[in-house]
Symmetry: C2
Subunit: 279 residues, 2 copies
Amino acid sequence: MRIGIIGLGLIGGSLGLDLRRLGHEVWGVSRQTQTCDLALERGVADRVSLDLASLAEAEIVMLCTPLDALESTVRDLVPYLSPETLLTDVGSVKGAVVETIEPLWANFLGGHPMAGTSDQGIGAALPSLFAGAPYVLTPTPRTPVGAVERLHCLVESLGAQPIVCSPADHDRAVAWISHLPVMISSTLIGSCADEPTDRVRDLAQSLASSGFRDTSRVGGGNPELGTLMARYNRQALLDCARAYRDRLDGLISLIDSENWAAITAQLESTREARPQYLK
Amino acid sequence: MRIGIIGLGLIGGSLGLDLRRLGHEVWGVSRQTQTCDLALERGVADRVSLDLASLAEAEIVMLCTPLDALESTVRDLVPYLSPETLLTDVGSVKGAVVETIEPLWANFLGGHPMAGTSDQGIGAALPSLFAGAPYVLTPTPRTPVGAVERLHCLVESLGAQPIVCSPADHDRAVAWISHLPVMISSTLIGSCADEPTDRVRDLAQSLASSGFRDTSRVGGGNPELGTLMARYNRQALLDCARAYRDRLDGLISLIDSENWAAITAQLESTREARPQYLK
C-alpha cells in the first residue's frame, strides 16, 4: 500500500521503518527539512516532502504530530485527499481527537499505539517498536466498517495487539494507567523539593534509592507531553484524580486514627491487584 | 570482633555474610531452629542459637528483627550484656526506636542501612548488599561518642556510605523518599482497582505498561512492612502525606481551571528537581 506518515518523530519514524520492511511504500511529511533529510537517511520513508499535497495518492495517512497540531494538519490535508483515503492518528487521547477529526473526514479511525521510549524525535525511531504492544483502535457509530478491518490488519502486521474500544473507554483507561501516574509522580517530586528545611531536603536526596526512582520516573518526563495529556483528556483525568485524592484522604485518616489493621488490609489488596496490570 | 546478630533475615543474614568475610566472629540468634540451620549452612554466622544469653560476650550486637519486635528483644537481651557492649539496630524508622531503646541500654546507636531487595528472609541474603549504599547513624546527645566512631568504622568496612544525622531528620527524609511513595503508589493501584465499570477496568489492565509498572511498584510490596513504616513513622508520614495531598489538590485545580501554562511550569520544575534524588 501507499502509506503517508505526517510527523516523523519517534512514533512516525518507527512506523515508517516497519511499514517499509513490510513492503509498503512510505511517503513522509515533516515541517522541517532537516527531519526530511534524516528520514531518507535512516530509511524511514521512500520519499519525503514538506508539502501535504504530496500525500494525494496515499491509501492510508497516519497522523503522527503532537495532539495540538492534529486539527490544523487535518484541515490543511483533506482538500488533497480522495474519499477512499483512510485517515488515522496515533494520539494518546481519543475522545477529543475523534470529535475534532470525524466531522472533517468521514473515513477516519482513531488509533493509539501504546509504545514508546523516553527519547523523542526521528533519531529515537526504532524498528519493531510496536511488536507485542497494545494498539488501540477507537471506532464510533460513524466509522466506516472497512476502516476498522483495514487498520486491524495493518496493526497485526506490525506485530502489535489490536484492541478495539470506544474513545471514552480508552480515555478513562489511559487516565488511570498513564495520565494519573504522571500527575501523582510529579506531585511526589514537587512535594519533596518543597521540604522547607534544607538539611532534610539534602538528606532526602542522599537517601533516595530505587523506590523513589521508580515512583518518580514518569513525573520527571516531558512537560509538554504531560500538559497535552491533561489538556486533551481533562475530564477523565479530573475524575480519576479526584477519586485518587479521596482514596488518599481515606488512607491519611487511617494513619491518623492508627487503624493499622485496615492499612494492612489495604496494602494486601493492592499487592493482590497489581499483577493484573502487569500481564 | 565478636558481633551478635539477632534476626537472621535479608538484612541480618547479609550483614553476617559480609562481617564474616571481614574476619569478624559472627554469632547469630533466631527464634526458629530452621533459620539457625540455614544460617550455618549458608555461612551467615559462625555459631547460632535460639537463646539471647549466647550473646553475653559479644562486643557489638546488631538488632535485625522487625520494628515491632525490637523493644521486647532488647528487654530480654540486656540482662546478659556487659556495659561495654554496643547495641545498634537496622530499623527503617529511628525516632520511635531510639526513644524506646535508649532508656533500656545507654550504649546504643540507631542505624539504618538503606539497602534491600524485593525478597525477604535468610534465603535472600546476599554478600555486599550494602556496598555503595547509604547507612544512616542517628546519635542523640545521650549517645556515647565512642559508639559513633566504632559503628562508623564498621559501616565503612562494609563498603557502605555512613551518614550521620538526628533521628527526626532521618524519619522526615525517609517519609519523603520511602514511606510516602509506598502510600501514594498503593493508592494508585487501589483507585484503578476501584474503577466501577468492569469494561474500563479490564481495558486499563490490558493497556498498563512501564509507566504504571514503575509508579505502582512499591505500592505492591510487603503489607506488613508498609504498615510498620506508617505505625512507627506516623507523625512524619502524616505531615508529608498532607503536604502531598495539598499539592495534588493544587494540581487538580490547575487542570480544572485549564491553566496549562502553570501545569507545564510545574512539570518542568519537577523534571529539573528529580535528578537531585538519583545521585
